[in-house]
Symmetry: C2
Subunit: 344 residues, 2 copies
């Protein structure tokens, strides 16, 4: 029986500290029989097209025994969101030729054994890679984190950190659509320019050029911050807490500055949460996927009418995936980091 | 015209670090004419009976320019919650002989110029001093912080720090009434015994005797904590975050361990807020006083039927007030700290 070769990106072992490309390995396996599922399978066999690099994946590279996120399995392919084409299906929801997005693996072909983690793509009148970002998990993250968690009101003051990333670029635009004043921080002049000139941020600054983050925030928010969309943590969070207004809301989406530290930076001014009646809330977009149709209804017309901008940083080829993932943690990507495995 | 002498406790100057009795001064003024208000006044003149010592008052002893809580005025009497009797009234809501609770000053007689900050006591069939605690601001704080902020469900695991204080003793009992499992921490064997034997806590421990707070919490909550009622902050909060369950809620009522520090202790594991979808919310009972009647409806029958326990630490005489207030910060009080100025 014919065997199909399947290139894979495999995690070598659990990672401590800052991850490196060499923590992952390109292997070639030959496990899938002639690109056919066994007769009695109810899995879905897909050809992966686009893979998503997301900051939360750092947590899965550590040994997370007793924690709340499953680790990757050393020796097995990395798992992550992606866009794929169905090659064979034993599941009634999917048929050969369907395009899907959802949880897949970093390899050319994957057998999806839990098809409840993939969703059929109905609208292909947009770039398919968008389903790793604005039309996928990061889009839902921006939507839920901003609208559901922060309940923005017109005229409120919004701050977004890591603002040019997959999520941040959308939050800023949602904030403008809601009539808010929005300022973003990012790590390069190029990104700051994008925030102001492409994503419609009212103001933006390069946090690497600020000696004093507290002073920077006071400059941009002399009357304080109502809503903070938190992607960074650590010193940035500390500076933000000092500048939050009474009844402010913090959507705790991520804390990318802390993921590679053995010991997190201490945040020393949490008493602001008490004295200013702040609400800080973590969330996981996956717990809100029932709201995906509602989100699509809002965002799809905005995309098609050109009322929302979206920038991708595209890495070509499965072999480029490890560097693309590592790049997130030094801020090398500009916009949503995608890896193209195949274009259909 | 006759002048009435009026003993007062005055803040000498703004306080840095740990407050001392000598930061306050007993003065005798003679400002109130024959215990009568001027004809055209719409204020209320009261004789103070019971004064409340509360941890939040530490914040008002500092120079809070630009912060969200008003400082006390150096040279003027301390302000605080209390129970008082109306001596004269220029306001239609109050008449001579009425008993009231609300914001008054640390002196024998006070002229209340903003009578919207006092409430008439309708039910005097309970000790009047209760209106500084279980029937006043601390009671509302426990009620709002537990029921409104944490939305407890039967069978959930609840942890309360500073659990024998005015608020904590009530939260534990509310938790038991809601069918939760509840553990409290306090700072002495006497208090731990009270928690278990008087307030119905399932378990309690003396945090001063624990080398490792994280290990202590793992001992009492092998499956994790759903609800944390936060009165302490700092290292205790850090240990709690490590032990919170997914979708846990933290009611940020106070952080008494941090109030006298020049620089707060750093909390290094806030990434748990992201990865476990935690919600941490500060609140001020004063913003929920519209719910006071609803609270009374719940708690008054419990008091009268002996279904709730409540312990006060009573200091006699206005002159004992500074020591009573300072004692809160070393945990000297056992139960709600009250100062008796006069018994009617």
């Amino acid at each position: 029986m014919a065997q199909v070769k399947n290139k894979q990106i495999v995690l070598k072992d659990y990672v401590n500290g800052f991850p490196k490309e060499s923590d992952m390995l390109l292997l070639t396996s030959d496990t899938i029989n002639n690109l056919k599922l066994p007769e009695d399978s109810n899995a879905v066999l897909v050809k992966n097209l686009y893979l998503s690099c997301d900051p939360y994946m750092r947590g899965r590279m550590s040994n997370s025994q007793g924690r709340y996120i499953d680790s990757f399995t050393p020796g097995s392919p990395i798992e992550g969101f992606g866009v794929a084409k169905v090659i064979d299906s034993g599941h009634s929801n999917f048929k050969k030729g369907d395009l899907v997005w959802g949880m897949t693996r970093w390899e050319e072909y994957s057998i999806i054994k839990s098809p409840e983690s993939i969703f059929k793509i109905e609208d292909t009148d947009v770039p398919l890679s968008y389903y790793t970002g604005i039309l996928g998990m990061p889009g839902m993250t921006a939507y839920i984190g901003f609208y559901e968690i922060c309940a923005p009101k017109k005229g409120e003051y919004v701050f977004v950190s890591a603002a040019s990333g997959a999520v941040g670029q959308l939050v800023g635009q949602f904030a403008k659509l809601s009539g808010c004043y929005v300022v973003g921080s990012a790590g390069s002049k190029e990104k700051v320019d994008l925030l102001k000139n492409k994503f419609g941020y009212d103001e933006a600054f390069n946090y690497k050029e600020e000696q004093d983050l507290d002073a920077a925030l006071k400059r941009y928010f002399p009357d304080g911050i109502d809503i903070y969309f938190e992607n960074v943590g650590g010193k940035m969070l500390e500076a933000v807490l000092s500048n939050m207004k009474f009844n402010g809301r913090i959507s705790a989406c991520g804390m990318i500055s802390q993921y590679n530290l053995e010991q997190g930076e201490g945040v020393r001014n949490l008493t602001h949460i008490v004295t200013k009646s702040l609400r800080m809330q973590g969330f996981i977009a996956g717990n809100y996927f029932h709201m995906f149709p509602k989100y699509l209804e809002m965002v799809m017309p905005l995309i098609k009418q050109g009322k929302i901008s979206y920038i991708e940083d595209v890495a070509e080829g499965l072999e480029s995936a490890p560097a693309a993932l590592i790049g997130l943690f030094s801020g090398r990507n500009v916009g949503k980091q995608v890896v193209v495995v195949a274009r259909e």
